[in-house]
């Protein structure tokens, strides 16, 4: 599974992307694993009191997880995950 970071998430993680070999069942467990990896600032940016942060956009294969069950969205081994802050309009 490949996780790509954009905008402020690049600063938070100091990476552009991360290849995860473990298979995780859903978005909630993925964000837990990533929060352990990157620390408190990342955790605070993705979780808001146990729920998904309202100022983050998370796409699984291009689809916004808010439309597919939020934290409960299932993940498959070949999925591509993109993480953005809510950050702009044009």
């Amino acid at each position: 599974m490949r996780i790509k970071y954009f905008a402020t998430f690049r600063e938070l993680t100091r990476e552009n992307s991360y290849q995860l070999d473990d298979h995780l069942p859903d978005v909630a467990s993925l964000l837990e694993v990533l929060s352990d990896r990157y620390g408190t600032a990342f955790r605070d940016a993705v979780f808001d009191q146990g729920a998904m942060s309202p100022v983050m956009i998370l796409l699984v294969n291009g689809r916004n997880v808010r439309l597919t069950g939020g934290l409960a969205t299932p993940l498959a081994a070949q999925d591509e995950v993109s993480v953005f802050p809510v950050v702009a309009g044009a």
Binding site: K4, F6, A7, T8, R10, N16, P54, V55, M56, I57, L59, N61, G62, R63, N64, R66, L67, S82, F84, P85, V86, V87, A88, G89, A90
Partner: protein, 600 residues
């Protein structure tokens, strides 16, 4: 008088008459100002069948009641006229400082009529207005014109002007102010050029007054807080500018690539806002009274494309970038700097080059047509050279200056021009994002995203979770965005304040500023009034429901790859409901009941 000034300036360049008239306050109340006021003036005074580049077209420069106050990011003005690109009633929106200066000089609107026989510029200092000879600056770039006219008028003068493309009546030319801000779309620069009006220089020392100062300030501070708390209006736009959208759209699978042949660009990250912030960004920039500062001051040191200026915005970076398969951000910036300094619409310019590249790929254009340039996808050098040629009106640039529709039509393939009503669509693929496609099809000035920016909900996480691939609910979403935006455009506020506030806050600020009461519903209704008046004018000019459509590619060719693979635009499923929500008949004509409701 509060908010508004109460005076309108009317200049006839043919006879040389200059008149200061009372602003029609009934119109001001019903249409607010800026876009709305300009649309009403053009609607009343210009025959829809008039030649857009002829003496009977008029050019209206109109700020709004917010313009010149500290209503957050409230300093904009509009240029309203009949478009020479597509014959629609076009309102083009710009920021910077020019609009506020018109208010301080004492005007709600400037109406330019007729045509001059020789190049002229307008010099406005409060109530002193002169038509002056501009032959010394005719042919000059935007920056040089600005500095030359300041030397002849006032060091602090704010200057709106055209460059050589506008002078040469390019259908995609813009009117620039403060060197880097553009009233970009729909060819308004050519109207100014057809009147031989090179520039307007303004100095104003008057005041914009407030009906209820304490209440207005409280309303403003409340709005500022909400915008600052919004992640987009607050920190996001300032940190990355609009160009951060490149990666977001790409990951969603809706970034039009190579003239909308595809919807993902393999090199998107090389031209996005993160890369811009790391490499070429000098600092953020804000327009008058802006609290958001989405502007980018940028610099390229690479000697091939060196320069300093502002931008690019997302749409501009897309047009010169993904749409042309180009991944060289320095080259994209150079193209943007050139367009600003010569006065060209960056969206239409980029999209026209992309169209030329597809025509070249298919053999409908050859190297003989293109002055020897190889218009292959990704050729950054050729792209910049084509922009330069269009700026100075040289060779193949003369054809590009007419926009992609006429270019593609001239070789017998208008279907390869990615336009709606002959205006180039910007950077969101309607096959991946259904709602924006409906907006492109129904926008009153042709392919345009800002008229109804449903992207905010469909992609950017504002509002309730909204599926970009769904058609349900999109008709209502588009109408809501279009009406609020029309009202907002008429107030002088920047559309980006919607990242934070809505009709309630805008109506409150407007009421306490002007002393004229607007409820949120009446505010939005004024927007609907503007929208319907624009529609009526277009219908009078022969537009029909057949023109509310999208290029065949987007309706029938599925996206070949990426997250939105296999999708097409399902416009036909949304359009009837759109007409119905609008209160129009099935041909898209406003019903008598609707017109009565809006006092039209």
């Amino acid at each position: 008088m509060n908010g508004w000034i109460g005076t309108t300036l009317r200049v006839d360049l043919g006879s040389g008459t200059i008149k200061r008239e009372p602003t029609n306050m009934t119109v001001a109340h019903e249409y607010i100002g800026a876009r709305g006021m300009g649309v009403k003036i053009i609607s009343d005074e210009v025959d829809p069948k008039a030649d857009a580049l002829g003496p009977d077209n008029k050019l209206v420069f109109a700020p709004g009641p917010f313009t010149g106050t500290f209503a957050p990011s409230g300093g904009r003005y509009n240029v309203i006229t009949k478009s020479p690109l597509n014959g629609t009633i076009a309102a083009s929106n710009s920021g910077g400082v020019f609009g506020p200066e018109l208010k301080f000089a004492g005007y709600d609107a400037l109406i330019v009529e007729g045509q001059s026989a020789t190049p002229v510029y307008l010099w406005i200092k409060n109530d002193k207005v002169e038509i002056r000879d501009a032959s010394a600056v005719w042919g000059m770039t935007v920056a040089d014109t600005t500095e030359a006219l300041r030397a002849d008028t006032d060091h602090e003068a704010k200057v709106a002007c055209i460059g050589p493309p506008g002078e040469n009546l390019s259908l995609i030319s813009a009117i620039m102010n403060e060197m880097h801000r553009a009233a970009g779309r729909t060819g308004v620069g050519a109207v100014m050029g057809s009147k031989k009006l090179k520039a307007i220089a303004v100095v104003g020392t008057g005041a914009v007054r407030v009906a209820e100062p304490a209440a207005f300030k409280a309303a403003v501070m409340d709005s500022c807080e909400k915008i600052a708390a919004n992640p987009v209006g607050g920190a996001g736009l300032k940190a990355y500018g609009t160009n951060v959208l490149v990666n977001i759209l790409n990951q969603t699978g809706g970034l039009p690539t190579r003239n909308f042949q595809e919807a993902v660009f393999e090199d998107a990250d090389m031209i996005g806002g993160e890369t811009l912030a790391a490499n070429q960004l000098v600092r953020p920039k804000g327009c008058f009274s802006c609290i958001i500062s989405c502007g980018r001051v940028t610099k390229v040191t690479n000697p091939l494309y060196a320069g300093i200026g502002e931008g690019p915005e997302y749409e501009s970076a897309w047009g010169f970038g993904a749409d042309a398969g180009i991944n060289n951000l320095d080259a994209i910036l150079k193209a943007n700097f050139l367009c600003n300094d010569y006065g060209l619409d960056t969206i239409s310019m980029g999209a026209t080059i992309a169209c030329a590249m597809e025509l070249y790929e298919l053999g409908y254009l050859t190297q003989e047509d293109t002055d020897g340039l190889e218009l292959v996808w990704g050729n950054a050098h050729a792209m910049v050279e084509l922009v330069r040629k269009t700026c100075v009106g040289e060779g193949f640039g003369k054809r590009l200056a007419e926009g992609s529709y006429r270019l593609a039509d001239s070789v017998g393939h208008p279907e390869l021009s990615m336009t709606v009503k002959k205006q180039e669509m910007p950077a969101y693929d309607p096959r991946a994002i259904q709602g924006i496609g409906l907006n492109y099809a129904t926008s009153n000035r042709g392919g345009c995203h800002v008229r109804g920016y449903t992207i905010a909900h469909e992609v950017l996480g504002q509002g309730p979770p909204t599926d970009p691939g769904a058609v349900e609910g999109k008709a209502g979403l588009d109408v809501a965005f279009q009406d609020l935006t029309a009202a907002l455009d008429s107030s002088g506020a920047c559309v980006f304040v919607t990242f934070g506030i809505g009709a309630a806050e805008l109506a409150n600020m407007l009421s306490t500023l002007t002393g004229f009461p607007y409820s949120p519903e009446e505010f939005v209704k004024a927007g609907a009034r503007v929208w319907n008046l624009e529609r009526l004018w277009n219908l009078s000019n022969g537009f029909t429901t057949a023109d509310d459509t999208l290029p065949k590619r987007l309706l029938t060719e599925p996206i070949p790859s990426g997250p939105a693979k296999g999708q097409v635009s399902r416009l036909a499923e949304m359009l009837p409901e759109y007409y119905s929500v609008r209160g129009w008949d099935e041909d898209g004509v406003p019903t008598p009941a609707k017109l009565a409701e809006l006092s039209l």
